[in-house]
Every structure is written in structure tokens, then in C-alpha cells.
């Protein structure tokens, strides 16, 4: 297992290098005149457009631009994000906690509910709970996230005013969290407001942060939960049809014991893979949710950078998120091998 992990980690820089080369290769399809659009908001004069192209080195061969970028990265400089208005590294460090908090809090109900409802549906195969959950899961998987998120926003935030229509904290608490007083003391600042509030014993900020997260977490968890429900259900149904289940039942074990000790652990193997990948996907930026609820996370910013051909920012995010993706997959593989003794990594 150790050699497997080391091999996977060693391959990481090669994959990242490959991805960045691919992005630069795609970039070569865009003319300097298209890429300079990032540096001007209105229709600049021809003379100024040419000057901007020269000033930003967009007229240089693409491989020269690539090696220039690479040499800066080697010196620890990921460049300045024109669309973000700050250095790429600082931007990621500032934004990632919001995404991480959202992803982690979404994963808890997502996995708990998805698995539990999937098993419930399988155990009640073709009975009314199963029928209802099938309909719910079909609606969940077919309903676009942005529609669902907007519906929640307009109904629960705008109309009923039960929850805030975006942001991470109310104005007063945000001012507190941004103040020097918040950073003082022994507790570290993680940037995840719920955790920071707990570390400082500040119940008001904790509840306020949680209050702001209810709608985004519900949006993310509900729809992803529908996918996990379907995976769990079909996996559980497959497992319940296996010979060893019938054997266990014929030996006189109670149905409940068979389900809990034999069927459920085996049925959850594919669920671990799907659930793990879902978490990794959420960490890579829940762009739509962050956009609808105006949450300052990495997904929202990545979309803005890509839409504006902000290559430096896109490359920086690709590096960060490539690391997350590969490490996330590694953890899933290890988890998979741990819970399934038939699998050996190596």
C-alpha cells in the first residue's frame, strides 16, 4: 500500500504538467487580439490594443509564454489574477475555506441521507416507500441545480425571509470576523466560519454562519443525494439477490441481522467510490451554488476566470484542483481497499 501511495504521489507533478501543457496548447488557438480582451472593458483604440498586446507579452510564441509561466511557478509565483484582482495563490487561500466548508457540510447530509434512503428503498422494493423515493430521485437527478437553488432562494430567502439571500455572515458578524479582535487569541483562523466560531466559543457567529449555509447546503446536498440514493438502492438490490444472502437467511439468521451484517457492508462498496468522488467534485468548486448564493468560493471565481480567458488564473486553479482531485482519488482508493479485503493496492 505504501509503495502504491508513493507512486501515485510521484505521478502527480507529471499529470499537472500535462494538464498545463494541454491548456497552453488550446490557448494557441486564440489570437492575441482575443486574449487582450481581458485587459480592456470597452472598445479600445486599435493603437492601444496593439500596445496592450505587447505590454502583456501576448504576441510572443505560445511556448515562450508557457516557459515564462513555468519558470515563475518554479519560483513559487503563480502570477496575478486579472479577473480576481489579486495574486492567484492568495486568492485560492482566501477562497478555498468557503468552498471547503460548503463541501464538508453538504457531504454529511448528502451521504447520510443518500445511503439511508437508498437502503430504505431497496428494503421496500416495489412498495410505496420505494415508489416515492424513485420518483423523488428521478426529480432530483433531472432537476438542474441552478433551478433548484434559485427556487430555494426566491421562496425561502426572498419571499418568506427565513434564510439570508446569500453571503456567509450578516453584516455585523462579518465585520467582527474581519476585525483584528477575531484574529487575536490562541485559536487559529481557518476561514471556515462555523469552525472558527466554535473554536472561539461564539455561538452567535456559529449559528449565523450555519443559517447562511442552510440554503446552499440544501441545494447541493438534495440533488447529489438523489444520485447517491439511486446508486445505493441498486447496489443494495444487487447484493440482496446474492447467493450468500439467501444462504444466511436459510441458516435462520433474522432478516435484520442479514441486512446489517452482510448485505449493507457489501452494498456500500460502490457507494464509497461515488460518495468520495462527489466530495472531491464539491471541493473543486460548487460553482453554481456559490454563484446563486453569492458565496466567495473557488468555483465561482474559476468560472469567471475561464469566461474571461484569464489564463493565469485558470492555470493556477488547475494546479490546485489537480492536487485535490488526485489526492481525493487516492483517499477513495485507500478507503476502498480498507473496507473490501478482496482489493489489494500495489
Amino acid at each position: 500500500m505504501t509503495s502504491y501511495i508513493i507512486r501515485r504521489l510521484l505521478i502527480l507533478p507529471i499529470i499537472l504538467l500535462g494538464v498545463t501543457i494541454l491548456i497552453f496548447a488550446m490557448l494557441s488557438q486564440l489570437s492575441p487580439g482575443q486574449r487582450v480582451a481581458m485587459y480592456t472593458r470597452e472598445v479600445a483604440s486599435q493603437e492601444n490594443i496593439e500596445r496592450l498586446i505587447v505590454q502583456h507579452g501576448l504576441d510572443k510564441p505560445i511556448y515562450v509564454q508557457y516557459f515564462h509561466w513555468l519558470s515563475n511557478v518554479a519560483r513559487g509565483n503563480l502570477g496575478f489574477s486579472k479577473t480576481g484582482g489579486e495574486p492567484v495563490f492568495e486568492m485560492f487561500v482566501r477562497l478555498f475555506p468557503a468552498t471547503l466548508e460548503l463541501a464538508l457540510l453538504s457531504t454529511i447530509p448528502l451521504i447520510a441521507l443518500g445511503i439511508w434512503l437508498g437502503i430504505l428503498a431497496a428494503l421496500n422494493h416495489n412498495k410505496w416507500p420505494d415508489q416515492i423515493l424513485r420518483v423523488v430521485s428521478i426529480i432530483g437527478t433531472s432537476l438542474p441545480l441552478f433551478v433548484f437553488a434559485l427556487l430555494l432562494l426566491m421562496f425561502f430567502a426572498a419571499r418568506l425571509r427565513w434564510f439570508p439571500p446569500g453571503d456567509r455572515l450578516s453584516l455585523t458578524n462579518q465585520a467582527l470576523v474581519d476585525s483584528a479582535a477575531w484574529r487575536a487569541g490562541w485559536a487559529p483562523v481557518t476561514g471556515m466560519y462555523t469552525l472558527d466560531a466554535l473554536l472561539r466559543g461564539n455561538v452567535a457567529v456559529f449559528l449565523d454562519a450555519l443559517h447562511h449555509l442552510v440554503l446552499p447546503v440544501t441545494s447541493l446536498a438534495a440533488l447529489n443525494c438523489a444520485v447517491l440514493l439511486r446508486v445505493t438502492r441498486s447496489s443494495m438490490l444487487d447484493t440482496l439477490r446474492q447467493d450468500y444472502i439467501r444462504t444466511a437467511l436459510s441458516k435462520g439468521l433474522s432478516y435484520r441481522t442479514v441486512v446489517r451484517k452482510h448485505a449493507r457492508p457489501n452494498a456500500l462498496l460502490p457507494v464509497v467510490t461515488v460518495g468520495g468522488l462527489m466530495l472531491v467534485a464539491l471541493l473543486n468548486g460548487a460553482a453554481i451554488t456559490e454563484t446563486v448564493y453569492n458565496l466567495p468560493g473557488v468555483g465561482k471565481r474559476f468560472v469567471a476566470a475561464a469566461a474571461n480567458l484569464d489564463v493565469v488564473t485558470v492555470l493556477g486553479f488547475v494546479l490546485f484542483e489537480g492536487v485535490i482531485l488526485i489526492l481525493g482519488n487516492l483517499v477513495v482508493d485507500i478507503l476502498y481497499a480498507t473496507i473490501d479485503p478482496r482489493i489489494r493496492l500495489g
Partner: protein
């Protein structure tokens, strides 16, 4: 057995309730439960207006939440050439003078207590105010103002605002261009580094000599090369906002010198920076009514009141004086309209940017509509329980036109085969009948009604309403399909009528008004003859810009916003050979020479009557030659919560002048 389904739902509901009830107070005092003294945090008053009502604001009474799109590119006043950045800089910095409320051509003293202009209009002398301090504590002196103006001009970044100062002061639109020209450097991609030091230093010294300070006499003098009637309008903008020279040098900004002891040009190190290279990119130390507290890029900017603001008399009758009434301004960047709307409905925003095509979504929320640019305008009552005030119909200094390219690039993908019939030749628009025919095929009424919800007036030429040379009785083209058909039929010696044509009319994606304009023209031309085909295509901004740069667009639909309110700022971009649009249109040489001569004459003419005559001639020539389809001058609309008072529209003040605002329940 207890149903696991039921218990889970109950648990989820309980959690939801706990979070909702626990946090809906929305007013956790800074420092509460944290074990930290509240005074250490940035405390704000948490009083709300009309608390308990269904439509109550959740924003504290001394705080303004402005929810809008976009954010500044920089907070360096000399770098900024866009409205959001200018809005902040107007609140963070003071200039010599400011606009007298809604009047763009009348000024009130700010850092200058009084001023004199020489008879030839070339020398401006300002007496500088005493007792003004910078946010970081320094005291304002005349040399700070001279330094700020010199620094701004020497910085002169590409595509920035400094051409507006450099033209009257130095007679050039670009410092680098001037230096390269004087040094006769012609190589492609040349920069100031290629200019000999003596040339470069001489140029810097000219800038320094143009703006001088006398700290003992408390004066600043500005000398122009050309009399510039609109120069005071430029000084009222934040581009020359006062900075503390000593503080700036401490930060590592320009040291106020042109060269070092070795005789090398040193000022060039601060010329043409990228936004983030400026020391003032995200910090501010002005003398303005607000101080910058924080800027979370892509998210929000927070300003706090400058409690030691120097002003003791109202800016104008009923205007602000002393420290700002609103102690805290939170500007949130929320690009998505549904989210902005939800914030408004939830009572979490005071001012919201409402897209023109989404006006109906807030109609029921409007309690009063003012038909003008302030609360003194005639008003119409709205919903009794409305939470908003609306201001509509005030003129904006913006105009949109569809501009014909007289010499389209041969490789343009928008001209079909490049021949009449299944395309257009590259010089298609050199024929006056084609241009007039297109003008007669445009329907302004439909455009303004359907594309702009009635919130615009038709443009009558390059000069907008209210400026010299504009007349609401000047001739204009009106929709007339018969005349459109006649002109097109005889264009190109009758070949257009015989063979027809096909071309693509592109607009930048997302601009719905421009899409409507393109579709109206295409549809009307098609009704004249089925041989006339205009295909409408949307292009991503980057692709649109590139196509325009390469002169591939047969017709380019673009808008122009005023830098200052004078007819010269309108005829130059649209008609001059060096204008932002005119240059790309490649007018025939004799036509262009006529335009240039008149435009240059208009700039140097001192007599207002003669200037008006010159601009009226240019307006007429734009019509006679049908150089563009001048589309519309949009009127503005502004929404804010009804508690907010003091807002006014001035075409040269972008979005909000926060200092003028207050909340009154």
C-alpha cells in the same frame, strides 16, 4: 416500531428551526460571545428601520448596502478609467473642485478655495485650503496637489484616462507616443526604455513645469498649451485627486523627480503600470469623506466615515457637510440578478442595480417614481407598502450608434463571398446610397419601445442633447421602407438592386439592446427585397473585440460615454481620424479632412457662439454623409430604498456619491 423516515424528517426540521431561530436575529454584536471587547472589533449600530414590518430593512440605519455588478479595476485615481472605480475614488479623494450637484458645468470649491483663469484661458491659479488632513494623518499642502497631478500624467498607462490631461497640458494624447516620436524611435514594440534619457527627462520636466505649487503663497498653478473650455470638468474628476507626497514616497511610489544624480531618467519606472503594480491599487490615503476599510476582491468593498472630514459648510443648499451621515458603506459585487433581487426583497440591500429588462420584477416594490434625476422631480405614487424609490428618465451621457466600416478587411468572415449577391465588397459602404438606405430602414420607435422599454431618446447625430451643436429640429432619417428601397436599388450603379447582397451583422453577446437594433435593421432590410440579406450573429466579447480590431465588422454597434460634457468629446470619437471609432471606419480622405479641420477648429475656438456653429455644421455633415446610424441616447433609472435621501443624477458622477446620502425613516 418508530419509523426511521419520520424521525429523520423531524430531526432535520428541528435542526432547521434551531438554526433559523438562532440566527434570524441577524444582529450579533461584534464581540458578543467571543470573549473579545466589542470596541476592538469594527462595531456598527444595529438599529433597523421599521423593525418588525414585513418589508423592514435589515441594514443598520447608519449603514448603506449597495449591491451592484462589477468592481473597480484599481483604486489608483490616476489609473482608473471606469465608472465603479471612479465612484469610490470620488468618495475617498478630494479634487480641487467638484460639480455643483447636478450641474456638470458649474463648480464648487473643494481643496481650492477660489481660482482664477487667465484671459487667454491658458493659466489656472488655485488658492489651496488650509487645515485639511489625509486619512493617514498628513497635512495637505499645495505641493501635494501638484505632485498628484504630475504623477497622474507621468503614469499615463495604456488605455487610461490621462490623454484627457495630456492633450491640453502637453498637446499629446500619449506620453510614450510623444517620447518615441521626439526620439524618432519607430521599431515595433518600442517603449520608453528605447528613448534617450535627455528626451525622456525633457518630457518629464515639461509636465513638472506645467503644474507648479507655491507652498508659501498656498497656490497651485496649471499652464495649458491649448485653451480647453472643459478643463474644470476634468479637474472635478478624481483623476487628479490629492495625495500626500511624503506618504506616497514612503510607500515606494514616484519620488517627484525626473532623473537621478547620475542623469538617468527615473520617472519612467512609474510609467504605464499594470493595475496591481500601482502602490494605490488597493489602498487609499486621500482627504475625502470616506476612508477605505477593506476590499475583498470579487466580493465587497467597505468604506467607513472620515470623522475628521474638513467640510463645515453644506456643499450646496441642503447638501452634506461635516462627517458623512452614513458611517459605513458596504458595496457588494453580485453579478446575478436573481440574487440581487432576493437581497432587495429580504431587506438586505439599500441600492440595487436593476437590469433594464427586469424592471417589471420590482414594479410592485416601488412606492414612488420620480420622473427625473432627484426627489424634486415630478413624482408618481406607487404601491402603498412599497419599499423603493425609483428615479427614471434623466439623461445619461451615453450614446449608441451603428457605425459603417468603409474599408472592411478582405479576410472578413462577415462579408460572404466579398461580391454583391452572396456577399458584399469590402468598400460596400463607400456608396452614400447604401448608407442612406440602411438609415431609412431603421425603426427608432420600435427600438426604443421594445429594446429599451421606452427609456431612451433617439440620437440625432454624434452630439447628444444639451450640448453645443445639438438641435432637436436638425434633420434626421426616419423609418421609410420606400426610400430605403429606392436608395438601395440605385446603389452601386444599380448593381445592389439587381444582385442583392448578403452580410453578417455582429454584436457582442449579452447586450440585448444591441441585438434588438441588429434584428430591427435586418428585418426591415429583408422586407424591402428578398435579395437583401443581413444575418445577425452574437460574438463573445473577446471575439467581437478582435473582429473590430482587424476591421472585419461591416457594421460595428458600440456606445460612447462622456469623459466631459462638451460637443468636442462626441465629434472626436465618432468623426476624427484619430477618434476611437472614426479612425476604424476609414472615411474617404476628402471627407475625413473636412471633419478633422472642423473638429480641430472647434477645440481651439474660444467664442461659444462660433463653437456652437462649428458643432452644428459637424452634426449636419454626419447626417448628410450618413456616416453611421445614430441609434439612441439612453436615459437613466435608479432604484433605492425609500429611507435613503439625498440622491441626485449628474452625468459625470458615476452611480453613487455616498457623501450626499443619508437615511431618514
Amino acid at each position: 416500531m418508530k419509523s426511521p423516515l419520520r424521525s429523520s424528517i423531524a430531526a432535520a426540521a428541528a435542526l432547521l428551526l434551531a438554526v433559523g431561530v438562532g440566527a434570524c436575529g441577524d444582529s450579533a454584536e461584534p464581540g458578543a460571545d467571543s470573549g473579545q471587547p466589542a470596541g476592538d472589533a469594527t462595531a456598527v449600530v444595529t438599529e433597523t428601520t421599521d423593525a418588525g414590518a414585513a418589508n423592514a430593512s435589515k441594514v443598520p440605519a447608519d449603514t448603506l448596502v449597495h449591491v451592484s455588478i462589477g468592481e473597480p479595476e484599481s483604486l489608483d485615481p490616476a489609473w482608473t478609467y471606469e465608472t465603479t472605480g471612479s465612484m469610490f475614488e470620488m468618495n475617498l479623494y478630494d479634487s480641487l473642485v467638484f460639480y455643483n450637484r447636478e450641474k456638470y458645468d458649474a463648480f464648487i470649491p473643494v481643496l481650492a478655495t477660489e481660482w482664477q483663469t487667465s484671459e487667454d484661458g491658458l493659466t489656472y491659479t488655485f488658492n489651496i485650503r488650509d487645515g485639511v488632513t489625509f486619512h493617514a494623518g498628513g497635512t495637505l499642502e499645495p505641493h501635494d496637489i501638484a505632485y498628484s497631478l504630475q504623477r497622474a500624467m507621468l503614469q499615463d498607462r495604456v488605455d487610461g484616462p490621462m490623454a484627457l490631461y495630456l492633450e491640453p497640458v502637453l498637446g499629446t494624447s500619449s506620453l510614450m507616443g510623444e517620447a518615441l516620436g521626439r526620439a524618432n524611435v519607430t521599431k515595433e514594440g518600442a517603449t520608453l526604455a528605447d528613448v534617450p534619457a535627455d528626451v525622456s527627462i525633457a518630457l518629464c520636466e515639461e509636465v513638472m513645469a506645467a503644474v507648479t505649487a507655491d507652498d508659501a503663497a498656498k497656490t497651485v498653478t496649471i499652464k495649458l498649451k491649448t485653451a480647453t473650455p472643459w478643463f474644470m470638468q476634468l479637474l472635478a474628476q478624481p483623476w487628479g485627486g490629492a495625495m500626500d507626497q511624503e506618504w506616497m514616497v514612503e510607500q515606494g511610489d514616484w519620488d517627484g523627480k525626473c532623473k537621478n544624480d547620475a542623469g538617468e531618467a527615473t520617472w519612467t519606472a512609474w510609467n504605464g503600470p499594470d493595475a496591481q503594480e500601482s502602490k494605490l491599487f488597493e489602498v487609499a490615503n486621500g482627504t475625502g469623506p470616506y476612508k477605505l476599510e477593506s476590499w475583498k476582491h470579487g466580493q465587497e468593498i467597505v468604506l467607513v466615515a472620515n470623522e475628521s472630514y474638513w467640510r463645515t459648510e453644506p456643499m450646496w443648499e441642503g447638501g452634506p457637510s461635516g462627517p458623512p451621515a452614513l458611517k459605513r458603506v458596504v458595496f457588494q459585487k453580485v453579478d446575478e440578478w436573481p440574487t440581487r433581487l432576493a437581497k432587495l426583497q429580504a431587506g438586505e440591500a439599500d441600492v440595487v442595480d436593476v437590469p433594464r429588462d427586469q424592471v417589471t420584477a420590482v414594479e410592485d416594490m416601488v412606492s414612488v417614481t420620480y420622473n427625473g434625476g432627484d426627489a424634486m422631480a415630478p413624482s408618481t405614487p406607487g404601491a402603498a407598502d412599497g419599499i423603493l424609490q425609483a428615479f427614471v428618465g434623466y439623461p445619461l451621457a451615453q450614446m449608441t450608434a451603428a457605425m459603417f466600416t468603409f474599408d472592411i478587411a478582405k479576410d472578413s468572415p462577415f462579408i460572404g463571398s466579398g461580391q454583391l449577391g452572396d456577399g458584399i465588397p469590402t468598400d460596400f459602404f463607400t456608396d452614400l446610397d447604401v448608407r442612406q438606405g440602411f438609415n431609412y430602414c431603421f425603426d427608432w420607435e420600435t427600438m426604443i419601445r421594445d429594446g429599451l422599454q421606452g427609456e431612451a431618446v433617439r440620437a440625432r447625430g454624434p452630439i447628444i442633447a444639451g450640448l453645443a451643436g445639438f438641435s432637436d429640429t436638425s434633420p434626421v432619417y426616419m423609418l421609410d421602407p420606400d426610400k430605403c428601397g429606392e436608395h438601395l436599388a440605385k446603389a452601386w450603379g444599380g448593381q445592389v438592386g439587381e444582385k442583392g447582397f448578403k452580410m453578417t451583422l455582429a454584436y457582442n453577446e449579452g447586450n440585448e439592446a444591441r441585438r434588438t437594433a441588429a434584428e430591427i435593421l435586418a428585418a426591415n432590410v429583408a422586407t424591402v427585397s428578398d435579395k437583401y440579406v443581413i444575418e445577425v450573429q452574437s460574438l463573445e466579447w473577446a471575439t467581437f473585440l478582435e473582429a473590430r480590431r482587424l476591421e472585419q465588422l461591416p457594421i460595428s454597434i458600440s456606445g460612447w460615454s462622456a469623459d466631459y460634457m462638451d460637443a468636442s468629446n462626441w465629434v472626436h470619437p465618432f468623426m476624427h481620424s484619430a477618434g476611437a471609432y472614426g479612425r476604424a471606419q476609414s472615411f474617404p480622405a476628402d471627407m475625413q479632412a473636412g471633419f478633422d479641420a472642423l473638429i480641430d477648429q472647434g477645440v481651439t475656438e474660444a467664442d461659444p457662439a462660433k463653437r456652437a456653429e462649428i458643432y452644428a455644421q459637424l452634426q449636419q455633415q454626419a447626417y448628410d454623409n450618413a456616416i453611421d446610424i445614430f441609434l439612441y441616447q439612453a436615459t437613466g433609472r435608479h432604484y433605492q430604498r425609500k429611507e435613503l435621501k439625498g440622491w441626485f443624477a449628474n452625468p459625470l458622477i458615476p452611480e453613487e456619491y455616498y457623501y450626499g446620502l443619508s437615511k431618514q425613516p
